[in-house]
Symmetry: C2
Subunit: 319 residues, 2 copies
């Protein structure tokens, strides 16, 4: 198995990305193929490099850059997966361009209306809650949300080994009558969708709980929700650091706190997955460290081993 | 000045509600008039009671119950404000029914399309960020969102004494081009709206920051966002309590932590305001303690003293 890693994507590229790729290759027994322009990548730490001439920068327009920069690391990485020269791709670069590259080069799984980004939200002491769509589609239709539920269910099962993941629909009250017209319509469709365990509407406060495994929503609400949770966590961590330092107990508390802080760190969770494209595509967050890349490659490997794409295909074609 | 307090609304009614009303009357030099059925209220602690015969319960359907229970504490409290027998109403009861009672009995300020719920999100070390709509209107139009911005601006100025509050539009990227069709349309309208300081799109992570004062969004996204933030805070507080206990440093840390915990407690912030109805209506959260009611009455008094309704009227009629 060979995983293509975009060596020039992300705020800490290429240093942390290449370091993580090297560590993943050593630790996971998997071939890692870097992708990028040699002069931007620099030292590959002995890893093979698939050379290209262009880089899609973080601030580039996703659609336009993927059309224009045909010899970019993102487009080439997606082509490697399409052509069977890599089993999966990993990038911490421009999220929109990663999505567009994967969609345009790998294509969609037959029957999938729209791919969606599935992001694990850490819940220390429990399995993460997977939120989708985390931002691929700002506006959606009820039948797309039903497919997000099916794909989210298949992904959660493959990723966390849970047979019948509990699927919730994000709304503003638990009753079926609560929410927008779209949410009410989707709720009714999900109640009649075979092959998933629909637990009904859930609320924002259920995301960091053990009440639900997969939370389905549109990409606008999903993205806002995710960034709200990140913002609150960041605020509290900063405030807490101040408090523990003031009280002069940091060293005493840290051994107890560290496991929770580590679990809440997105670098621990292998990044988000683009579900619905015909290949494994991992979108690691922009500030990914070497550790994030190791975990992303690990998850990519597991999803290839577990035939995630095959499971997604079955889940979507079941209806 | 006299503030009408729904004595039978909220999970801790009537005990905590009456205790808070009594404390507010003593501390704030304001008349407090309890509203409720005498047999449900019990001991009024010497406060006057406006008697009625019905109670809208937390689980009642808002629209139907307001139509049917014409002699309920919520409907009567709104009538007291309409008739000039009270200057403001406060309830920790059924949120939807509080909104419906205020809307049906007080009516809307002339020119307001839809009232919105404005909720302060605590930001320790800074003024809160006011989020609206926090749940009154699951589906909205661009021109309603513009009015929410105008009303939010007037409210923030009156509530926190800030001359030109920074107004942000909640989206999934800072660029004007990011978001749904509705958000893009609203962004363009807000750029041309006089009388407000529009800082452009903001993201979920800006809510608990000093980047923006008022965040405008639809009631679906707003409610989900608010409950997500509450859920994350609750999760972290519980985890942290465990950690500090394990490390045996709770007593040492608490004096440093207490101000932050207190500030993050919704009971400290006087509840949400229903903006756009022709009167001051404070919606305190369901689990309000006596302290929450004291703060709600204090904010009600300040908003009456500061002629909030007059300012809202001017803000909306300016365009």
């Amino acid at each position: 198995m060979r995983i293509a890693v975009d060596a020039v994507g992300g705020d800490k590229a290429p240093g942390e990305i290449v370091a993580g790729a090297r560590e993943a290759a050593d630790a996971l027994g998997v071939d890692v193929l870097l992708v990028g322009p040699p002069e931007r990548v620099g030292d590959t730490k002995g890893l093979p490099l698939h050379e290209c001439s262009e880089v899609i920068e973080m601030k580039d327009d996703p659609g336009a850059s993927v059309r224009k920069k045909k010899d970019s690391s993102l487009v080439r990485a997606a082509e490697l997966v399409r052509d069977g020269k890599a089993s999966a791709m990993v990038s911490a670069g421009n999220t929109g361009a990663t999505m567009a590259s994967a969609l345009l080069r790998m294509g969609r799984i037959k029957g999938v209306a729209r791919p969606a980004i599935a992001t694990p939200i850490p819940v220390p002491g429990s399995t993460p809650t997977v939120l989708l769509d985390a931002g691929a589609n700002a506006e959606v239709q009820a039948d797309w949300l039903v497919q997000f539920a099916q794909m989210g269910s298949a992904f959660f099962a493959a990723r966390y080994g849970v047979a019948a993941p509990r699927i919730g629909l994000l709304s503003i009250g638990e009753e079926d009558s609560k929410g927008t017209t779209l949410v009410k319509e989707t709720n009714a469709l999900l109640r009649d969708t075979p092959g998933i365990t629909f637990v009904g509407n859930v609320e924002g406060r259920d995301l960091m709980s053990d009440e639900v495994d997969v939370v389905v929503t549109d990409g606008f609400t999903g993205n806002v929700t995710l960034k709200t949770a990140e913002g609150v966590l960041r605020f509290i961590q900063r405030a807490l650091l101040g408090v523990l330092t003031e009280a002069d107990v940091f060293d005493q508390v840290w051994p107890h706190l560290e496991p929770i802080v580590l679990d809440l760190d997105p670098d621990s969770h292998g990044g988000a997955m683009l579900l619905g494209v015909d290949g494994v595509c991992i979108i690691s967050h922009g500030s990914s460290s070497a550790r994030a890349i190791v975990n992303a490659v690990r998850v990519a490997k597991e999803m290839v081993d577990g035939d995630l794409v095959g499971h997604l295909r079955s889940a979507v074609s079941a209806t």
